[in-house]
């Protein structure tokens, strides 16, 4: 089942007609005009997709970033990382499957991968807690970052979360401390860290593993301090003002690049990453590889200093 977003209605209609024609085509074998019409409609769809996705509003980008068929963390690991070995647990309390961590190879090079996984169907969404990590998840991330530092492995973090999990258990086990210590660990390791915002970069739950040397965002991903809905309900005192909030928040990859918060934007296939998953993931892989190449071989202290300076310069007026 393909999911269409609200603004994709005209596209959905055209694709519906193509499907109908194609099924017709199967019954009346030698109808040339049908296949011509299909081709014309397909061109039209492509053009419409290109037009629509070239000027998505911030709110529409939020919808695309949350699209259920958008490739998630494990899809990237499957396609990009060879010999992946999943590593579990924080050694303190438990295992949190919202956070995926493990060793593997990217283009032959050993790397540590840490990501947030939302899941693709009901069962996997529940298993991964919809990508919302608990303190043990962030503590596992810290453990794996320290391990990467110990063995001199580059760290890749794949971010896709609405935010850290809010709940009684999270507070009891120190969600705030877990996030703070994760940021601290990101700042302490002497190996390259490359972060990719795949879909949603949700607040503290994202920055906990996205304090990095190079921050990459997909073209239609978003990254913000709070969800547009949350922002609207607090500042506009109306949850239905989320579209306005999304506009004001400047949460798109393009806005963040302009503000100097992120380094690279990866173009998505026409119609979004979910329309051509394979090539979207391949593009991300190439970008991560290039980022690691640019960072590798650097002295650990130099790398740490550069990382600190990068963040200290953010939001400051140019000297």
């Amino acid at each position: 089942m393909q999911t269409f977003l609200e603004f994709e209605k005209p596209i959905a209609e055209l694709e519906g007609r193509i499907r109908d024609l194609k099924s017709l085509d199967g019954t009346s074998a030698h109808d040339v005009s049908v296949s011509d019409e299909v081709r014309a409609l397909e061109d039209k769809v492509h053009k419409l997709l290109r037009q629509t996705y070239a000027k998505l509003t911030p709110w529409q980008k939020v919808m695309v970033a949350r699209h259920p068929s958008r490739p998630h963390c494990l899809d990237y690991i499957d396609q990009l990382i060879d010999d992946f070995v999943l590593l579990a647990g924080d050694r303190l309390y438990g295992e949190d499957e919202a956070v995926i961590g493990g060793l593997g190879r990217l283009n032959g090079r050993s790397v540590m991968v840490i990501g947030l996984e939302k899941g693709n169907d009901t069962a996997s969404r529940v298993k991964h807690n919809f990508g919302m990590a608990k303190p043990e998840g962030y503590r596992k991330a810290q453990r794996l970052m320290r391990m990467a530092d110990q063995f001199g492995l580059p760290i890749i973090t794949l971010v896709d979360t609405a935010g850290a999990y809010p709940g009684i258990a999270s507070e009891e086990r120190g969600q705030a401390e877990a996030i703070a210590a994760s940021i601290q660990t990101c700042l302490r390791v002497g190996v390259p860290i490359v972060s990719v915002i795949l879909g949603e970069g949700g607040s503290g739950g994202a920055i906990a593993i996205a304090t990095a040397d190079q921050i990459i965002m997909l073209e239609h991903s978003v990254y913000s301090v709070i969800s547009p809905e949350g922002c609207a309900s607090i500042l506009w005192r109306a949850g239905d003002k989320a579209q306005e909030a999304a506009q004001a928040m400047r949460l798109t990859a393009q806005d963040l690049k302009e503000m100097g918060v992120i380094d690279t934007i990866i173009d998505e296939p026409v119609g979004g990453a979910h329309r051509d998953v394979k090539s979207a993931i391949a593009a991300v892989g190439a970008s991560i590889s290039a980022a690691i190449d640019s960072l590798s071989g650097k002295d650990a202290d130099k790398l740490k200093k550069q990382r600190r300076d990068k963040y200290l310069a953010m939001g400051r007026p140019a000297p």
């Binding site: 709940g167 507070e171 703070a180 601290q184 700042l187 913000s224 500042l235 949460l251 400051r316």
Partner: protein, 303 residues
């Protein structure tokens, strides 16, 4: 005398008008007793009947922490105002101007230096009345300044959060203050100088999830609300009532997040003793025992 009364009087009357409209009695949220505002002020905004700690003005907070109430305020760097040109129901720049006009400060953090029970220290305190003590670029920059000053003067850094969390009108730049303030903490830790956090009511969101939970020692004021997610968000997520005392200072201590829960009156003594222990490890007056002591210790089997 005349010049003094002329100088002082307008300020006092302005303060009284602003903070205590009409009646001079304050109802304690803890025990509902009516307390005269002067009695409350003399008691550092702590209810004399039940000990409930009410919020206290940042300047008074600094005065109660430093010896004889004396401290020097540190000039803070200017930062871009309203970098996103953010507008919700009002313009952020207007909100900011209003907060600056009513507080007479640039933003929600004050940095001061002085002595605490004789130990020189830098204190960075939040002003909750300035846009809910929310953290944006100015707060981040103030904390970086405080950390640099502590390093330069080789003295401890004490941070006193009182904050609703992120300054939402600065959007992603407020989120970026989480790593930025963590870097400030790291500067102090690199030099092995003490970094102490005094958690006060309220400490929430991105403030809790960065520098406020990275102290060498965490002291919390009695009854203070300290947490990551807001109570309403949690209730909406789990759809059940929150337990009694949830996210209070005592609850955090019980769960291992806080070292010490103290009253406002005892705070300077507790803080002073810790700073003294950490900064004067071998006071010159101490008589050091020589001879067998060291050898005996060496001979002892290790655990």
């Amino acid at each position: 005398m005349n010049w003094l009364t002329n100088f002082v009087r307008p300020r006092i009357s302005a303060w009284v008008k602003k903070d205590v409209p009409q009646n001079l009695w304050v109802k304690c949220p803890g025990c509902e007793a009516q307390i005269h505002h002067r009695e409350l002020e003399e008691n550092l905004q702590v209810c004399p009947h039940c000990g409930h700690h009410m919020r206290i003005d940042a300047a008074k907070r600094l005065a109660l922490m430093f010896d004889e109430g004396r401290y020097d305020e540190v000039e803070l760097p200017d930062v871009p105002q309203d970098p996103l040109k953010f507008r919700d129901l009002k313009r952020y720049s207007d909100r900011l101007k209003a907060a600056q006009a009513s507080s007479g400060r640039k933003d929600a953090m004050i940095v001061a230096r002085g002595t605490i029970k004789g130990t020189h220290a830098i204190v960075a305190a939040f002003d909750f009345s300035f846009m809910g003590g929310s953290m944006g670029t100015a707060v981040g920059e103030a904390l970086v300044t405080a950390a640099k000053l502590a390093v330069m003067q080789e003295c401890p850094l004490v941070v006193v959060p009182a904050s609703g969390g992120a300054r939402m009108q600065e959007s992603i730049l407020s989120l970026m203050q989480m790593p930025r303030t963590t870097i400030a903490v790291e500067m102090v830790k690199d030099k092995r100088l003490p970094y102490i956090v005094v958690l006060t009511d309220p400490t929430t969101g991105g403030v809790t999830a960065s520098f406020a939970m990275l102290g060498d020692i965490h002291i919390a004021e009695s009854g203070a609300m300290i947490g990551f997610a807001g109570a309403r968000v949690i209730e909406e997520t789990i759809r059940e009532k929150l337990p009694e005392g949830f996210q209070r200072a005592e609850y955090l201590r019980e769960h291992g997040m806080v070292d010490i829960v103290t009253t406002r009156h005892e705070l300077p003594t507790v803080l002073g003793r810790l700073l003294d222990l950490l900064m004067r490890q071998r006071p010159p007056a101490e008589v050091v025992q020589l001879s067998t002591d060291k050898a005996a210790r060496k001979a002892k089997p290790a655990g």
